[in-house]
Subunit: 232 residues, 2 copies
DNA sequence: CCGGTCCCTTGATGTTTATCAATTCCGGCT
DNA sequence: AGCCGGAATTGATAAACATCAAGGGACCGG
């Protein structure tokens, strides 16, 4: 693996506080690969052989059961995924595929577990990361159980606007069918739900969204930091 | 706090591997309290002052938004709750109330964080616990997004039967209205859904469930370890 | 033993969301 | 420019689920 990437990865919260010798151990077994869009990276149920670190691009975590499929989350750089499966040495609960061209570092799970056992700093960093992941799933579950599909959509758009830096207009970043799956609805229903938000100041043209009147949309969405703030 | 309880708590995975001096530190600031049923223990949004350890009884974790409320999970002994909020020193995402008379140990969050910073064994134990919690929420989310309400109910009953030791007949352990909330449906709908499972070998009388033909119920439920196995 | 309360059930109805079947729209290719 | 294929939309219909209103049954205190 090139040294410049070492530096990028070392800069992640997860690897920042660990002993240098341990970091070098991890990097010796690791490698980086670039994947084209729409490539399956791993399948739920598989043994968790590698911790994945997304360096650039984006990845969709999804899951299937009984012929149905749903998007669980989107991974954005720079962050890890399937950390919990790696720690517990258990099969993945979700499948992953690239959304766009992506650079991903793969670190053998066995080495992660070995270093984790001897490096307290690394263990603490993993705790912090896992606690954040846990809380973000809890938020997603509250979103699902407490809100209707329009409310979920409205709040999603508000969060997307924040991610985009608060611009009135911003790009969705992927297909609407995926957004529908993330929201737990069908593409047809999303289409109608978006139309339903027009009177609340939302204009959708293709994958470009414009929020003409954020206050009006917030009056409908009623965003709440205990559900919608991704940083806590 | 009585010494016998020290022993019980020390036996938890979470506290098993830490240094004795650190454990004593934690216990000095801790105290145990017995609560009657239906008592609010904490409210979402509150600062996370104490890590809670449920010694006996059971606790409901729930959440509210915009006038609606939903049950997120049931805590059973012996385990901790609101660990992630404690670690991150952030407000609780869920509220908690006792379901039955419960003994709960309260350990100041600040001390948990302090010991966690200096005791690698404790940090590792927390990682294992958090990874388990994370995976259980992911499973719950898959359950919600991939299954209809009848399928969720059927799989819930199969898991409840396993928890009860595989007996044909077993107790639900709480009101049906709470089960409805856990499943994300209304009590009325649960009532009809239960009736709909009669042809599949389910008999419900009050809070007592009898599964006459597990194979038949499984044919409908299609349980999957990546959703329904709580141990992984 | 009575009345009250709270939960559960049942029925009737309404809303939300999914499904199915056409189009229409759009980007990439030739 | 013209064609192609996948995505998005639209309309019609059905299924899933919620709401409202009214009983019924268990528990509990007087």
């Amino acid at each position: 693996m090139p040294d410049s990437l070492h530096h990028d990865i070392r800069g992640l919260h997860l690897f920042e506080t660990m002993a240098d010798a341990h970091f070098q151990t991890l990097m010796r077994g690791a490698f980086v690969q670039t994947f084209p869009p729409q490539i399956d990276l791993l399948t739920e149920g598989d043994p968790s052989d590698f911790l994945h670190v997304l360096v650039s691009g984006s990845v969709d975590l999804f899951s299937a059961w009984n012929g149905r499929e749903t998007s669980m989350a989107t991974v954005r750089p720079v962050s890890t995924f399937i950390l919990a499966a790696t720690i517990r040495d258990q099969p993945y609960l979700m499948s992953a595929r690239t959304l766009e061209k992506s650079r991903i570092a793969l670190i053998p799970s066995a080495e992660i577990r070995a270093v984790f056992d001897v490096d307290g700093g690394f263990a603490r960093a993993i705790v912090t990361e896992l606690a954040l992941c846990y809380r973000s799933v809890i938020k997603a579950q509250k979103d699902l159980k407490l809100r209707t599909s329009s409310e979920r959509l409205a709040n999603y758009l508000l969060r997307a606007q924040d991610r985009a830096g608060g611009q009135d207009g911003f790009e969705l970043g992927f297909e609407k069918r995926r957004l529908a799956s993330v929201l737990g609805i069908t593409p047809e229903h999303l289409s109608r739900a978006l139309k339903g938000l027009q009177p609340h100041g939302v204009l959708a043209t293709g994958t470009r969204i414009r929020i003409a009147d954020r206050d009006r949309l917030e009056a409908l969405a009623r965003p709440n930091p205990l559900i919608d703030d991704p940083s806590t």
